[in-house]
Each structure stands twice: as structure tokens, then as C-alpha cells.
């Protein structure tokens, strides 16, 4: 029924627009005709007037060219005025109509997605349901879906690999001849890989011009420490580019797909580092000439969308993944190496020095979780852990920090969570801090950093916690489980499967007074393993090689 109603609304809107357009044409014609009749009438009256003044018909005719010219000039001016006015109306109506149609289409698209999602759940196609869930979450954060269906899709999303489903879809497109399709993508990638081998990429000079590209200012977040360090490299000249402005220019630019300042930068660069493997990056890489060396960095959320499959891997020289399990996930479906693209795992660079702050007293029984406002962080498991620990010792506390939850699909989850958390908040065994950019200071009052997430790439806040001297208690992320696990990211920290295990481990550490030593040990090893100097050396090598 809903579909029919929406369809009727869509048709009604179109009819309404059509009749408006028709009416405008009729009205304009009528208006011009009236004006012309008036002018002709005026001319006739003038003719009569001149005759009455005693002028002969011949003389009046001789005057006519000037009068006709004047009449035409008046008509032309009037027409231009009307055209200008009509253009204004047209533009205004067009804008209004576009907004209306967009709204109707958006509602229609959402209803369509929702019914597809429900159908996928009903038929047991959890792969499709999970990929639809990602789409719905990204485009319609206020959507209302059945919580049980969401839970099923989420589980499949985390434990399965949605890229397989997207690949299947692309392969089906190959059979049915639809676009984009996998055959075309592979052929294009092979062509580009061949071209890459032919085109000489590396200039025989030491100095490299590096362009770092990302989408919107806040997506430069993980690039900042790299930018700061690269600016100190004498053999690298660095510039940056925000491609959000190119992809959707706020003003119309004539005769150019991208503005010349971006063209100039691309032209100037020897190496282009593209941050985030999303659709806009893919669009941008297509615009870059093959002779440029391209480095692409993939984080984590991109693997939930079909984007990694659409990249022209033949054009890309290096792919950086921030963790092993994410690279394994990608390679299960597409192998960039086949297209002459080298892959490497390199965690995010961040400056440890900011986090080296002394801990406050009595933090050894304080757990901390960053970013609780997203269901993915599984604050409920942190609460489970707290409840386990409180059975041993009532001095345990849990501190959460982050923005409050906003996604309506997660409303049910957070309702249950806050119902459970209420007594703890009252007794102050649980504390919630609003988001603060000054995490190093917040870590001063936390002794144990938790990672309870379903899905993570590296869990940056957990790494930051370790750098601050916290002991880490990390869940074996379901997202990483079938793809090599997350042990390689945190080889010195305790990885748990159940909260009971984690509670036992932490209580044991505290009772043995071994918590500070363990924190120091994890911190030192982490510094050795992932020092910015070490990671940067690898990166610089990649840029300059």
C-alpha cells in the first residue's frame, strides 16, 4: 500500500509540474499578445491622430519605418523583460520542484530499501540484508527498522564479508550486461596495470612533490601527524587537497571537470597519497594521469561498502591497510597485487609524547571506554565486565566518554543499555563524560582501556590508551576473527572472548598489584613496535622509492 501511495505522489508531482509549465506558456503567450495588441492599437490611434492633423497618407507611410522601428524596439524590450522575469520564475519553480521531487524520491528510495531489507531478512539472505543495513544507516540515520532484523543483519555484517555479496552482484551485472560489472572492472584494471608498467613514473631526482588528498577537513584526522613529520623531510615538498570541494563544487565552473587549482596540484605532484578508499577517492583516482605514483590508504569502514571493488587497482602503486585483518578481508575478494599494486600493513601514526602524562591516584580500578555512543563499541559488554568486577570488589568504576547516541536504528539497544546503567550512574560506579578533544588528559583518570567493539580497524583510542600507560583489555573482535584476528595489533595485551575472562584477568592483576607494571610493559613494547619514526621511515621509503 505504501508503495502505491508513494507512486501516486510521485505521479501527482510530475502532473502538477507539467500543468504549471503548460500554464506558464499559455500565460506568457496571452501576456505578449495583449501587449502587442495594445501597441498596435496605439499605432492605429496615432495614425488617426496624424490624419486629423491633416497629414497625407503618403507622409504618414514615410514616417512609418521610424514608428515601426520604435514599435519593434518596444516589443523587443518587452519580450526581453518578460523573458528575464520568466527565467526568474522558472529558476525558482525549478528549485522548488527539485526539492519536492527529491523529497518524494528520497522517501520512495527509503521505503524501497526498507522493503528490500525486510524481504532479505525474511528469505534468510543475511548477506544482502547486511549490505542494505549499511546503506540505510549511512543515508537514513533516523530510519526505524525492526531491532531483531537489525541485530541479525549486524551480526552477519561483522562476521561475514559483505564484499563477497557486492562482488556477486557485480558478477551478475556482467552476465546481464548492466553497469558497473565485474568483467569490465577487471579488464580496465588489467589495462591500467599494463600502462603503469610502460609509463615511467619515477623521476631521476631526489626531490619528490607529494600531494596528500582527502575528503572534507575532518577526514585529514589520521593524516595530520604524517603531514607534520613530512614537512620536516627536506627531500619531500608537500601540498594537500580537499577533494570534497571538487566532487561537489559549490559554484558552477565552466569548461572544466575540476578547477584549475586542483589540476595544477595534480600536475605538480610526483606522488599522490589518497586517504580513505571510498567512492570519491575512486572518482578522483580516475582523474589522475597514469604517470603519477598513487598510494591509497584503506582504513576500515570502507570494507562495508562496495567501493574497494570499484577502484582501478591497476592505477594504484601502493595500498596501505591499517591492519592485517582488513587487508585479509579485502584480499578475500579482490587481489590488488594481481594488478601490480603492492600492499602493505602500516598502522596509523600518532605522536606518543602527547599521551605521556602521569596517572592520577587510584586509577587502577577504573575502566575506560571511548566513543560509547555507537552500538559498535558495545558499551553493554563494558557494563557486563563492570558488573563482574563489582562482584569481586565494589571499588571498580567504568568511565565512558563520547557523544551521546543519535542513530535511531540503535535506539532500542541504547534504551536497554541506559536502563541497565541507571543504578550504576546513581551509585557513581559508572561515569559518562561528554566528548572532549583532550583525550590525553582524560586518560590520566583511567587505568584500564577497554575495547569491546564488534568491528574495528585498529581501535585508535585503545592504542592511545596504551600509549598513556593504561593496561588494555581487548575483545577478540568478531570482525577480525576469521581474518587473522586482532592479536597482531596488540601482541602484549590481554585478548578476551568473554567478559568473565576479562574480569578474572583484571582482578588478578589488581590483587597482585601488577597493574602498573603491566601498563608500563605494554606502553614500552608499543613504543618500540609502533614508534612514529619507524612507521614514518616505511612511509617515506614508499614515497621516495
Amino acid at each position: 500500500m505504501k508503495h502505491i501511495a508513494l507512486f501516486v505522489r510521485l505521479v501527482a508531482t510530475k502532473i502538477w509540474l507539467l500543468q504549471k509549465r503548460l500554464f506558464r506558456v499559455l500565460w506568457l503567450g496571452w501576456y505578449v499578445a495583449i501587449k502587442l495588441f495594445r501597441k498596435i492599437g496605439k499605432g492605429f490611434r496615432r495614425f488617426v491622430e496624424l490624419r486629423n492633423q491633416g497629414l497625407s497618407f503618403r507622409k504618414i507611410i514615410l514616417l512609418a519605418p521610424a514608428s515601426t522601428k520604435k514599435l519593434f524596439s518596444l516589443a523587443r524590450n518587452e519580450f526581453n523583460r518578460l523573458k528575464k522575469q520568466a527565467k526568474g520564475h522558472r529558476l525558482r519553480d525549478k528549485k522548488g520542484a527539485r526539492n519536492r521531487v527529491e523529497l518524494v524520491n528520497r522517501t520512495y528510495a527509503f521505503e524501497h530499501l526498507k522493503s528490500e531489507f525486510n524481504e532479505a531478512i525474511a528469505t534468510g539472505d543475511t548477506g544482502l540484508a547486511s549490505s542494505l543495513l549499511v546503506k540505510i544507516e549511512a543515508q537514513y540515520p533516523q530510519a526505524d527498522l525492526n531491532p531483531q532484523s537489525v541485530a541479525i543483519a549486524r551480526e552477519r555484517l561483522v562476521e561475514g564479508n559483505v564484499l563477497n555479496d557486492h562482488l556477486r552482484e557485480l558478477m551478475q551485472n556482467s552476465i546481464s550486461g548492466l553497469h558497473p560489472n565485474w568483467d569490465e572492472i577487471v579488464k580496465r584494471n588489467i589495462r591500467s596495470a599494463k600502462l603503469k608498467r610502460i609509463v615511467k613514473k619515477n623521476p631521476r631526482r631526489k626531490q619528490r612533490n607529494l600531494l596528500m588528498v582527502s575528503h572534507k577537513h575532518n577526514s585529514f584526522m589520521f593524516l595530520l601527524p604524517i603531514i607534520e613529520r613530512l614537512e620536516m623531510e627536506s627531500n619531500i615538498s608537500l601540498r594537500t587537497l580537499d577533494i570534497s570541494v571538487l566532487h561537489n563544487p559549490p559554484v558552477e565552473r565552466e569548461n572544466s571537470e575540476i578547477p584549475s587549482y586542483a589540476d595544477e596540484l595534480i600536475d605538480w605532484a610526483d606522488v599522490i597519497f589518497v586517504e580513505w578508499a571510498h567512492d570519491i577517492s575512486s572518482w578522483f583516482i580516475d582523474l589522475v594521469p597514469s604517470k603519477k605514483k598513487i598510494i591509497l590508504r584503506l582504513h576500515s569502514y570502507e570494507l562495508l561498502r562496495p567501493w574497494p571493488l570499484l577502484f582501478n587497482w591497476g592505477k594504484i602503486d601502493h595500498l596501505i591497510c591499517v591492519s592485517d585483518h582488513n587487508l585479509n578481508r579485502l584480499q578475500e575478494v579482490v587481489q590488488p597485487e594481481k594488478f601490480n599494486c603492492q600492499t602493505r600493513v602500516l598502522p596509523n601514526v600518532f605522536e606518543f609524547s602527547d599521551y605521556k602524562k602521569p596517572k592520577k591516584q587510584g586509577v587502577e580500578r577504573t575502566l575506560g571506554l571511548v566513543g560509547y555512543g555507537s552500538q559498535n563499541k558495545r558499551a553493554d559488554l563494558a557494563l557486563d565486565l563492570l558488573e563482574h568486577l563489582l562482584q569481586f570488589d565494589n571499588r571498580w568504576k567504568l568511565k565512558l566518554i563520547g557523544s551521546p547516541p543519535t542513530v535511531s536504528i540503535e535506539e532500542d539497544y541504547f534504551q536497554k543499555f541506559f536502563d541497565r546503567a541507571a543504578p550504576h550512574l546513581e551509585r557513581e560506579t559508572m561515569l559518562i563524560d561528554p566528548w572532549s578533544p583532550d583525550l590525553p588528559s582524560w586518560f590520566q583518570s583511567v587505568g584500564i582501556i577497554l575495547s569491546c567493539s564488534d568491528r574495528e580497524g585498529t581501535h585508535e583510542s585503545c592504542r592511545e590508551g596504551i600509549a598513556s600507560g593504561c593496561v588494555a583489555a581487548i575483545r577478540r573482535w568478531p570482525w577480525a576473527m576469521d581474518y587473522g584476528g586482532n592479536d597482531s595489533l596488540f601482541p602484549d595485551s590481554f585478548i578476551w572472548d568473554t567478559t568473565a575472562e576479562a574480569a578474572e584477568y583484571l582482578q588478578d592483576l589488581v590483587s597482585r598489584l601488577a597493574l602498573p607494571d603491566q601498563g608500563r610493559n605494554e606502553q614500552e613494547k608499543f613504543f618500540q613496535r609502533e614508534s612514529p619514526e619507524k612507521l614514518m621511515a616505511e612511509l617515506v621509503e614508499m614515497i621516495t622509492s
Binding site: M221, T240, S260, D438
Partner: protein, 348 residues
Amino acid sequence: MSAHKAERLKIFTALGEQKDLSASRGDVLNEIETYRKLSSFADVYYNGQLLQWEEQGFGIVPQEVELPDEAFDLYYCRNAPKLYQECKGPLLIMAYPYDPDIWEMVDGVVVTTYAWKNLLDNYNERSNKLKLYDDPWYPDSIFKPRHITVFGQSITPKFTVQDNGKISKLYRAAFGEGFSVGYLGRIDPTCYPHQVIAAIKEIRKVDNRISLTFMGHIREVVIPGWIQIYARQTLEMMPHVVSAFDCLIYDQDLTGDYLGSVKCLEAMARGVPILVRPYEARIEQFGEDYPLYYQNEQEAEYLLVKLKDDRNFRSSIREYLLERRPYYSRENAELRLQVEVLEFLNIV
């Protein structure tokens, strides 16, 4: 009328036909800032309702703009002519738009700079240079207002909040690193910075690390492709945006001789060098000795190159601006505003 009362003054305010203050247009935001400053020493009523700064929408229920029956110590309105006739006064109105009948009727007009006050004081005897200029706000001769009160502009406190600069760094990366020059605010033919653009284009021939970014509503001008046009950002983000630039530019037609500019104050608040023309109102804001005045393309080019290449020069400008900042803090502007209002009430 005596203003020396034991209790707080009651001030009635109105802005055009705005039923409330929810709009986020520049004029509304500027007026809100003025009302906030007036609130430091008076109870300010918008359209008859007391402004409560902690409340949502300042505690105002939207309703038609009209004069209430109760009396106020001062009426301050902007662009609300239908109220002026019935207003018991003392009535102050904003000094534009100009209407001789209204100016004759009201007790005084409000300006935002002393340069503006001087201009109106001596408008009919102004210099030939200004007479040649076809002023968009005032005709060749004007009715001299009975009183001119200066409601000086000030720096919004959020521009002086210290932070770790991370968000500014993100914006800096988005603007292109290198030496970023920015133009913030509406761009139209009256303020399009032709000469600075030409200067930057010239510098780019030898150093492409300099870039120019526009952020604001663009009207009736075509922007060359080498200039980056960045999407407008929220008001909360603007302090970070300002700090992300190495240098800002501000341009204006001859109205710059008297109109105030909050954008210049915001640059000052963040210690970011800003190139301006040596108009009276700018000299009032930045002082006679401010080194970044330019009058033509060559001067702009010289200053930009110096800012780009001479770190010491840049930091001396920063220090200069930060030294001037306290004068424009909200607290100090409030004190000056109080003096102006009381003086006006004593005279009327």
C-alpha cells in the same frame, strides 16, 4: 529624563519584522550580540519579551512586532519604521537605511564606529573624494541626526577561547597547506578583492605554495579557477577556520570608510594577519601603525611576500593584533556601550 536609576534600565528592542531571533543571518547575529552587551547593564526586551540568554531561543515566543503598552527607558529599533510613529521614546534607530522623515522624528541614530559618527556629524561638509562616491546608504545631503550613539562592535568570546589547534590544523590541511590566504564572507562586486587576487596571481608565478581560498556566498562575480572555493562552515567552526589561514584579506568599496567589520575583529581575535585598505573605520580598528594596509596591487604583493617569507614579520603582526584584542573584548565593549547609552539618556 534621568538615567541615574537605582534599578536596571529597561530597553525595548526590535529588528525589522522579525518575530523572534531564530534566523542565523548576519544582521540578526550582530543585533543579538548588541542585545547581549546591553544586557550587561539593562533588562533587554525583544518585542516586549525579556531576553533570557540561557533559555532556548532566548525565551522568546514568536509574535508580531508591535509596541507594548508598558513604558521603557529606551527604545532601540532597527529597520522597524512602523513602530517609530507611536513610540514614546527616547528612541534610537540604526543609522541605515536612511529616511529623512524618520531621522527627523527619532531622538538619535546608532552607528558601529566612531568613523561613522564623524561622517554623519560632518556629512554635508564631507570631502570631495567622498562626495564623488555614490554612497549606497546616504544621498548627497542628509538630515543631521539629533544624537549619534556608537554601539561599538566586539569580539565574540568563542573567538578568544584557547584550544589545542587540532581543528585548525585539519582545516589548514583542507585548504592546501603551503601559505594559505583566505577571504571569508560574502563576495560580490562591491567587495571582490581584485587587487589582492592580481597580487597573489603574480606571486604564484614564482611560488605555487601560496594559495587563495574563498569561503562565503558568491554573488554576481565569476571566480577564476585557480582560486579554491570552500563550502561555508558552521558558526561554531569559524574560529578554527580563521586560525587555519596564514593571512586573510578584507576588501570593501568606499563604505569601508565608516562601516565596521566584525570579520576584521575576528581575525584580530585569532591573531591572524589581515590585509585591509586604510579606510577610516579600519584605521579605527587596527590603529595608524598597522603594517598591513594596502592601496594597490603592488603594495598587496609586497606585504604578502613579506608575510610569506619573513616569519618574524608574521609573528610581530600576530603580537600587534593580540595586543589590540582586549579593547574589543565583549566586557570592554559593554562598558563603552553603557557610557554611550547613559550619555544619550541624559541628553534626551
